[in-house]
Structure formats: C-alpha cells, structure tokens
C-alpha cells in the first residue's frame, strides 16, 4: 500500500527535487517506511501541543481591530471615545461594555445594527402546495427575519464597517481584560433583584435571568450575553428597547417575551443586582 501511495505522489509532483525525494523514499526498506510514517505522526502529535504556546493565530486580527477601535479608519470614527479605552463602557451615555464579550455575539450585533430596519428581508411563506402530501409543521404562520437593532448612532456607524472590520473588532474586544468594580445599593433593591435573577417571577411565567445568562449573569456562549459588568443604564435601556419593539434580534423571541413581563421596578432591581456582583473576564 505504501508503494502505491508513493507512486501516486510521483505522478503528481513535477519538480526534480521532489522527484528525487520520492525516489529515495522508494529505495527505503519496508521498516524504514514504517518508521518514517510513524515519525510524521509523532511530529504532528508534538506540534499540536506546541502550537497553543508558540503563536496565536488570532493575533493579527486583534492588532488590526485594536488599531480600528482606538484610532478609527478614514470615515470610520474610533470606538474608544464611547466604549472606553479598555472597552469598559460608559454608564453616563448607556454605552455597553465590550471587553470580554463573545466574538460571535459582537459580530452578530454589528450585523444587526447595519441592517436596514425597513428592509429586513422578512419572508412570509406562501401557503404550502399540498397539505395532504406534506404533513409538516404548519401550526402557525411564522415569520423569520434576520433581526434588527435600532440605535441612532450605531446604525450609521455599523453600515460603514466591512465584514473584516467586524471580525477584527470582535476579536479585539473579546480578548480585552475586564474587572468589574461592584457598586453599593440599598439592601431591599439587591434582595428583590436577586430574587428575580435567581428565581424570576414564576407566577407570571417569567424565568430566572441566570437560567440562560449563566450563574452570576456571566453569560453563556455566543447567544446569551453577560449581564454582570454591564452598566445599569445600558441594561435598562435595552429592556426598554425590547418593550418598545426597537430591538428585535433575539433567538426564538425569547428575550422579547421576557422583557414584556418586566416592570420598571424589576429593571432597576435586577440591573442593580448585577452591578453589585464582582466579575472579571480574561484576567488571572
């Protein structure tokens, strides 16, 4: 089998150097071929352990993203004036923390910002051709859209970004270090916020925040963003946007259903609870 393989390589390769290598391989005895193959496997085995320590494949993207985030590029203004030099956000203008968020989450939000809210490419499926022959799930008429997110500043800015820009920025911000500084709130607010975060409001069909956003609101994967470490004003503003229908880019309309159940007091209490937690990301 080894011989067959080598013959195949011989036909494909054109250069003289490679041809001489192949002919040398042909002259090797059976055991040395086995040894050569084994040493290749050993090399690959060792390299996969060495790779993570030697170089980071995302480093070039991170550097370009850093350049764009701090200095901007041509017409594109920098992100740092609003989102902070460390990506920590700004509570005064309800600007979110970006440091340590999942890169796919950042990318998706930028895509949704860039999408024109009036042209969501929503497709309402026509009536199925033959219900008898295709007994599929047509229980409801469901409209699927890619999702939109309204923000007067970000809509304009996100449209300037290319796919590469979005990728670079996402890599840069996901690798930033963030350490939250817990803030003090009064006891009653924290107690009510904790009750909502850990247990929700079962008698109104509202699940706990932590059941999807992870214990301590630390986020889970690309879909469920962290709540801890976000400015209080940002969390409240976003829930208001869900309720007003200005943000509509969640999965399975989960967050829209939940936001509809939240009172103004709930928003304040739960945001204060997460602002009170200690939380760090990307730091030892």
């Amino acid at each position: 089998m080894g011989v067959v393989l080598i013959k195949g390589i011989d036909v494909e390769l054109g250069s003289n150097i490679q041809r001489s290598l192949v002919s040398r391989l042909k002259n090797m005895s059976g055991w040395s071929v086995v040894l050569a193959v084994l040493s290749v496997f050993l090399f690959i085995f060792l390299v996969q352990f060495a790779l993570p320590f030697s170089s980071d494949s995302q480093e070039p993207y991170r550097l370009v993203g850093e350049q764009l985030a701090l200095n901007g590029n041509g017409n594109i203004p920098a992100c740092a004036p609003c989102h902070g030099l460390q990506g920590q956000g700004n509570a005064e203008i309800a600007s979110p923390r970006l440091a340590g968020l999942h890169p796919d989450y950042i990318k998706k939000q930028l895509e949704d910002y860039a999408r024109d809210p009036l042209n969501t490419r929503a497709v309402v499926e026509p009536i199925a051709r033959d219900y008898v022959k295709t007994p599929r799930t047509y229980g409801d008429l469901t409209v699927f859209t890619p999702g939109t997110r309204y923000d007067p500043k970000m809509n304009e800015l996100a449209k300037m970004l290319s796919a590469e820009d979005r990728h670079n920025l996402a890599i840069y911000y996901s690798k930033l270090v963030f350490v939250a500084t817990p803030k003090a709130y009064d006891f009653e607010t924290l107690e009510r916020g904790e009750d909502l975060a850990l247990r929700g409001k079962p008698e109104y069909g509202l699940p706990a925040c932590d059941s999807c956003h992870g214990p301590g609101g630390q986020g889970f994967g690309a879909i469920f963003p962290p709540l801890a470490g976000q400015p209080v004003t940002y969390i409240i503003a976003q829930i208001n946007q869900w309720q007003a229908g200005k943000r509509d880019n969640d999965h399975l309309a989960l967050m829209r259903n939940i936001a509809d159940q939240l009172t103004d007091g709930d928003k304040v209490n739960v945001a204060a609870y997460y602002d009170n937690l200690s939380y760090s990301v990307n730091s030892e």
């Binding site: 022959k133 409209v143 859209t145 969640d250």
Partner: protein
C-alpha cells in the same frame, strides 16, 4: 396461560420492529422542496400567533414565600438544605444522584413554576393513590421514585437527612396553600392530539425550537466551568431513564407545552408538543432499573 404469554411476546416483538423502522425513517434527509427553509434554519419568530395568547392575571396562581423570608432557626436551616439539594442535587445529594439532572431540571424555578410540576401544589395532595404503583404513596415514597427513575440514581431512605430536608423544603414552599385541593397550575397542562404523532415533524420542531439550548445531539450544555448542566440533557446517559414519568410521550408533551421554550410557555401547539415528545421518546437513554437487562435489550422502546 402459556398461549397468553406467547401472544404478548409476539405482540411486543412486532411492536418493536415497527418502532425501529420509525426510528430509521427519522434519519432520512428531508425533501428540501417541501420544507420551508426558514423553518429549518430559524433565527427569529415574530408574534404572528395571535389566536392563542397565554395571559396571566395577578393572583391567578399561588405565590410561594420568598427565599429571603426563610427563618433563622433549625427549621430554616433544614429548608435551606432542602433548597440546596433541590437546585444542586449533584453536589448536596451526591450519593443519591445518578445523572446530570437536578430536581429543578423538571420542577422548574426551584419548584415554584405553575404548570411546571410545582411543589406547592403537590404537598397538599399526598398521600395519594398512584396508578403506576397501584398503591397509596406518601410524599417521601414519591420523592424516592424521583431519585430512582428521573435522577437514575439511588433512593434515599425515608429517614435520610436529605429526604427530611426535601420534605421540609416542600412544606415551607407550600405555606398557606390548602390541603386536598387541586390548585390552578398543578402538575402539567393537558394536551389533546389532532393528528397521529409524527417524529419527522417532531424533528423539525426540535431543530427550530429546542436545539438552540439543548444542543444538536440532545445532550444538553454544561456550565462554562464544566460543572453540571445549564441546559439539561434530553437523552443520552446523563438524562432520565426509561422508567421515569417523562418517558411517557403524553407527559413529556404536557411538560413541553406548559414550559418550553423557557420563557415562552404555551408557544408550541398541542400537536407540535406531541410530535417533538415522540421524537425525544425514540432516543437512547438509561434503562429502567426495575426491568431486566434482557428485556431492555430485546424491547428497548418499552417505557415500563
């Protein structure tokens, strides 16, 4: 007598063949022309289901006491221990837990959610006659069955501290609820089927509504630190076994209708819930511990 036994064996072997054929059909690829591409690859669903809206008015369901109001005495300590076991069974009742589930994986929101098998509605109904065992069972015996089947583990004895703590927690949670009354939100909502159940349709529902959290393989997703599940496994070795209540298609459909997707209860229709329930029912999971290995090998799809 012999003939009756033979008849049953023949019946079940035939039953088994039919089911395995059905299971194979699920694996077939779907006709791309007949399936809406948006359904298979969904990202968002807008509120178009205007015919059926589940509105909860204040005071409709029983409101259990707050955790912050647990008293600072021996009773309160027992309640806290029971709550810890309930929401983190793997840690606080490690010797009895057999799989990756907690009590609160099924009794949602720490046993508080109406239509999510709430504890406060169950406490006043026990001891009760149970059709499964054909005996009158106490709350403790019912909890033992939860450990044996749903947790696929070992039953704590009736005098075990874990058992005492769980019963104490249940009692505390149902403070102020009447005894012997069917409270609104008890157990699970009813489902009624309109068509024959179809696991193919169930697979589509699973991929559009369940896969996001429970994963493509139905094995759930673990916490970021790797301890325990944030989204519990629906099948596989870490899920409930074949003797548990959720292995009954109807019960699972009721659970799905009343609680899933989390935060969007009653968003699936009865038929969708039943279809996805039979799809989940057909998957692999631990055997019923009360059934022999041979029975499990030859009739793997028999619930009990």
């Amino acid at each position: 007598m012999k003939w009756i036994f033979l008849k049953w064996v023949l019946f079940f072997s035939f039953y088994n063949v039919v089911l395995s054929v059905a299971a194979q059909e699920i694996g077939q690829s779907l006709d791309s022309l007949e399936v809406r591409p948006s359904l298979v690859n969904s990202r968002l669903s807008l509120p178009t289901q205007l015919t059926q809206v589940h509105v909860i008015s204040p005071g409709e369901y029983f409101a259990p006491p707050l955790v912050a109001d647990i008293s600072d005495d021996r009773f309160g300590d027992m309640v806290r221990m029971g709550r810890n076991i309930f929401i983190n069974t793997d840690v606080y009742a490690k010797r009895y837990a057999g799989n990756g589930l907690n009590c609160s994986s099924c009794h949602l929101q720490e046993g508080r959610k109406p239509h999510g098998i709430p504890l406060w509605a169950a406490y006043g109904r026990y001891p009760m006659y149970r059709h499964k065992t054909r005996t009158v069972v106490t709350l403790e015996e019912r909890i033992q069955d939860c450990f044996i089947y749903s947790m696929d583990g070992i039953a704590p004895t009736l005098d075990a501290p874990e058992m005492k703590a769980l019963v104490t927690y249940t009692k505390w949670l149902s403070k102020g609820s009447p005894v012997g009354v069917d409270l609104p939100g008890r157990g699970l909502p009813n489902v009624s089927r309109t068509q024959d159940l179809d696991p193919k349709r169930g697979k589509i529902v699973y991929e559009t509504r369940c896969e996001l959290c429970h994963g493509k393989d139905g094995k759930g997703q673990k916490h970021t630190n790797g301890e325990g599940y944030i989204f519990p496994p629906l099948w596989g070795g870490d899920s409930y076994n074949k003797g548990s209540g959720l292995q009954r298609v109807r019960t699972l459909a009721k659970f799905i209708k009343g609680n899933m997707p989390l935060g969007a209860s009653f968003s699936l229709t009865d038929q969708e819930s039943l279809d996805v329930a039979i799809y989940i029912w057909l998957q692999e999971r631990p055997r019923n511990p009360k059934m022999s290995w041979a029975m499990d090998f030859f009739f793997p799809n028999m619930a009990r």
